[in-house]
Amino acid sequence: MPLTIIKRDEPWKWGALVIFLGALLFCLAVSAALLAGQGKDALHGLYVLWLGSFGNLWALEGALLKAIPLFLCSLGVAVAFRMQIWNIGAEGQFALGAIGATWMSLLFPDLPRLILLPLMFMMAFLLGGIWAFIPAFLKLKLRVNEIISTLMLNYIAILLLDFLVFGVWKDPASFGFPMTPEFTQGAIIPTIGDSRVHWGLLFCLIVGVGLWAFMRFTRLGFELQASGEGARVAKYAKIRYGMLVMFVMFLSGGLAGWAGCVETSAILNRLQPSLMVGYGYTAIVVAWLARLEPLNIAFASFLLAALRVGVENMQLELQIPAAFGVIMEGIILLTVLAGQFFLLYKLERKHSS
């Protein structure tokens, strides 16, 4: 029987969840097919993926650790997206945040932790924010498309980071490897108890709740969301659109900067090029999957982080190319985006006369 597409009268209540789970299933099915195509046992492969992501405490801790920078970057991206400002530059703002934090730690290595860490966070927010502020300024003054400028600035940021670690900040004792000296204890975020997870997790919780409250209960947060309907509506409502664009980009970049700070301080304990693993890009996927809601972002970042960890496990056990994880991420995003069609429309059997 032929099907027709019909517009829904009301949005589908549980649609978002159903679509997300559907996308996940579809992605797993495609992955299994890809594994089979490589001559591997597909079911075993998926089992290895499961084990690597959620199978044991070690895996869960790994996922949580990766979820922290993803969450912060993603919050930043989502704030800008809420206002329909397309900040694709979380990767670069993340790098600048790491640079800012490293700068402070190298400048004041002997300060006590309670002073040094806040200093690092401040500088990370500032530099990340400024990096995102540049495209906002260009957009407003010269009408430069922010998608292009934020993306371009990513490359500049990574080159800047390379310049620093290959040059002025290089550790003389590193046998020529591009990395800064290891941070002093005061510059390192400590772990929680005996686990591998660090206190950055609590920081994420505070930032997430803070941002949620900001969007929901403050006038500025309301104006920000209202501006998402376009500059003309903002002007109609006497909202200062230009100011808001600059503010939101600064905030967005600052949050990504914090992610960079947390990652350098807690995980690597120094600045080195291997810091840049694409959290800033995955954050865009996470933000869209979560439909820009802070709580959903927490879940989505954990899920995608777990996926990353799981795929790493698969790589080791089954000798699978590293690109496999990227493929899975891409499939999930595309399926979810395509599936969002069903939030507004539904398929119905055509009535035969």
Partner: protein, 511 residues
């Protein structure tokens, strides 16, 4: 009243005995979810006749026509063409059966010529000869007495001429039934008359016309038969010659007696709230007038003669030259720098969904859009209080559905306009700019909006920009007629002669 110069050639055309209907709807029902849009409608359309379809917003006119045009399939019942049942699965099927529709928004390629637009998608062969194309379209236009140059570019044409191109497109596809969705909304009175003459000529050559309209006087002047839709049901079909008054027709349309003429009591007029002095620029030339508290000044004119620029300059969307616009006795720049959220200016724009409201947000957020400063407490927003006030406004203005969680896009046009009006009046404005406040609204909603605006004169002055002359005559104290960026006349509605002067001024005739 907008005066129609069109006089029908024969006052009543009787239907010859034994004429077979060209299209019939037989017990057609259409549902959208729980909403019954059309309920067992049976209607015949005869060749060579004009059938007017009258009904309020949401009465089911568009649904019915969309089924005829092949965009929807009826849930029950069927459509017959020439007495044979048909099933349209797409608009292509409908066109093949000879049914064509002219939509409110024209679907033309602006940078192409008339002939090219008519033949677009109909070329038949890969190579086409421009001269041949022009000739064929020219002959077609002549055959139906449509006065249009096939070589003209669409972008150079007026709205009325563009409409003729849409008609030509249908004629070229040999449509026998032409459906017009509110065709006169964009036309000047003169263009309306020309359209009516063209419609009449087409019926003489055997075409059937279905004419959807809100404007009662047009329907009475033009139609051979009037079908009235009410809440998805066919309320009845009338012979226009049997209609004694417009209010009778209106009452049949809405089911209760509606007075289309509102009572305008006089209000004390005091200080000016808007003064425009020698405003030139933004496409405007030497505009001078003022609006005082307690009065309504209407700006009328054919769309695109500078009304938009005037509104944008006054409401702050565009910046006028210095010392030309004074609002509440302050220069423009100072007013916008210092204006407060309430007891100030408010703007009810034409574009309700795209400008006045947040389409994906609920009623509370939409109330907050312009009143948020009234609900602020430092950086915080008191949403509890906003919810309470939203609920109050929904009750007071009877905005449906009466839920605060309804999103703007889910509201019908009339309810959305009521919501905007409720919000803007909540701000206790001293000066209101209302742009096409009743466009697309049904009679009862229009009446309500009119009364609200008249009541608002107690505290404010109103600048009313409208395309509906009746609205201007009913509400305003003065009517300013705009033509090519100028105000050609400022006419007091208290004078009898005013209504007759507007039409020529709109066309630029000042003699």
């Amino acid at each position: 009243m907008s005066e129609l110069m069109f006089v029908r050639p024969v006052s009543v055309r009787s239907l010859p005995e034994g004429t077979q209907p060209v299209v019939s709807l037989k017990g057609v029902t259409k549902r959208f979810g729980k909403v019954l849009a059309n309920e067992s409608i049976t209607m015949d359309v005869y060749p060579g006749r004009i059938k007017a379809l009258l009904g309020e917003n949401g009465a089911g006119k568009s649904t019915m026509m969309s089924m005829l045009a092949g965009r929807y399939c009826p849930d029950e019942g069927h459509i017959e063409v020439d007495g044979k049942p048909v099933r349209f699965t797409s608009s292509k099927d409908a066109i093949a059966a000879g049914i064509g529709m002219v939509y409110q928004h024209f679907m033309l390629v602006d940078c192409m010529t008339v002939a090219e637009n008519v033949l677009l998608g109909q070329e038949g062969t890969f190579f086409i000869n421009p001269r041949e194309m022009k000739k064929r379209v020219g002959e077609l236009a002549e055959a139906y007495g449509l006065d249009i140059d096939p070589a003209a570019r669409i972008s150079d044409l007026s709205m009325g001429e563009r409409q003729l191109v849409e008609i030509l497109k249908l004629l070229y596809r040999e449509s026998r039934i032409l459906i017009f969705d509110e065709p006169t909304a964009v036309l000047t009175p003169e263009e309306t008359n020309k359209l009516f003459e063209a419609l009449w000529r087409m019926t003489e050559q055997g075409k059937s016309i279905i004419f959807i309209s809100h404007k009662l006087e047009e329907v009475i002047a033009l139609a051979d038969e009037i079908a009235i839709l009410r809440r998805g049901r066919l309320e009845g079909e009338l012979d226009p010659s049997a209609i004694t008054s417009k209010s009778e027709l209106a009452s049949r349309m809405v089911g209760k007696e509606v007075i289309l003429e509102v009572n305008r009591k006089t209000v004390e007029i005091s200080e000016p709230v808007l003064e425009i002095r020698h405003l030139t620029g933004l496409g405007l030339t030497d505009i001078n007038f003022r609006v005082r508290k307690g009065e309504i000044v209407a700006v009328v004119g054919v769309a695109g003669n500078g009304q938009k620029a005037l509104v944008e300059a006054v409401t702050g969307l565009c910046k006028p030259p210095a010392n030309t616009v004074f609002i509440m006795q302050q220069p423009w720049r100072k007013f916008f720098a210092e204006s407060t959220w309430n007891r100030s200016m408010c703007y009810i724009p034409e574009d309700r969904l795209g400008l006045a409201t947040l389409r994906n947000q609920n009623m509370v957020d939409n109330l907050l859009l312009t009143t948020r400063k009234g609900f602020s407490n430092g950086p915080w927003l008191n949403k509890k209080r906003a919810e309470k006030d939203t609920l109050k406004l929904i009750k007071k203005f009877d905005i449906r559905p009466g839920k605060i969680h309804a999103l703007a896009w889910q509201l019908s046009g009339g309810n959305l306009q009521k919501a905007v009006l409720a919000r803007e009046l909540y701000r206790e404005p001293r000066f209101i700019v209302a742009e096409q406040p009743t466009q697309g609204l049904d009679v009862s909603a229009t009446e309500e909006v009119w009364n609200r605006l008249l009541d608002a004169r107690d505290i404010s002055g109103i600048l009313l920009v409208t395309g509906d002359l009746n609205e201007a005559l009913q509400l305003a104290d003065y009517i300013a007629v705009m033509y090519r960026g100028r105000i050609l006349g400022m006419l007091p509605t208290s004078e009898e002669a005013t209504s007759g002067k507007i039409g020529p001024l709109m066309a630029g005739v000042t003699d």
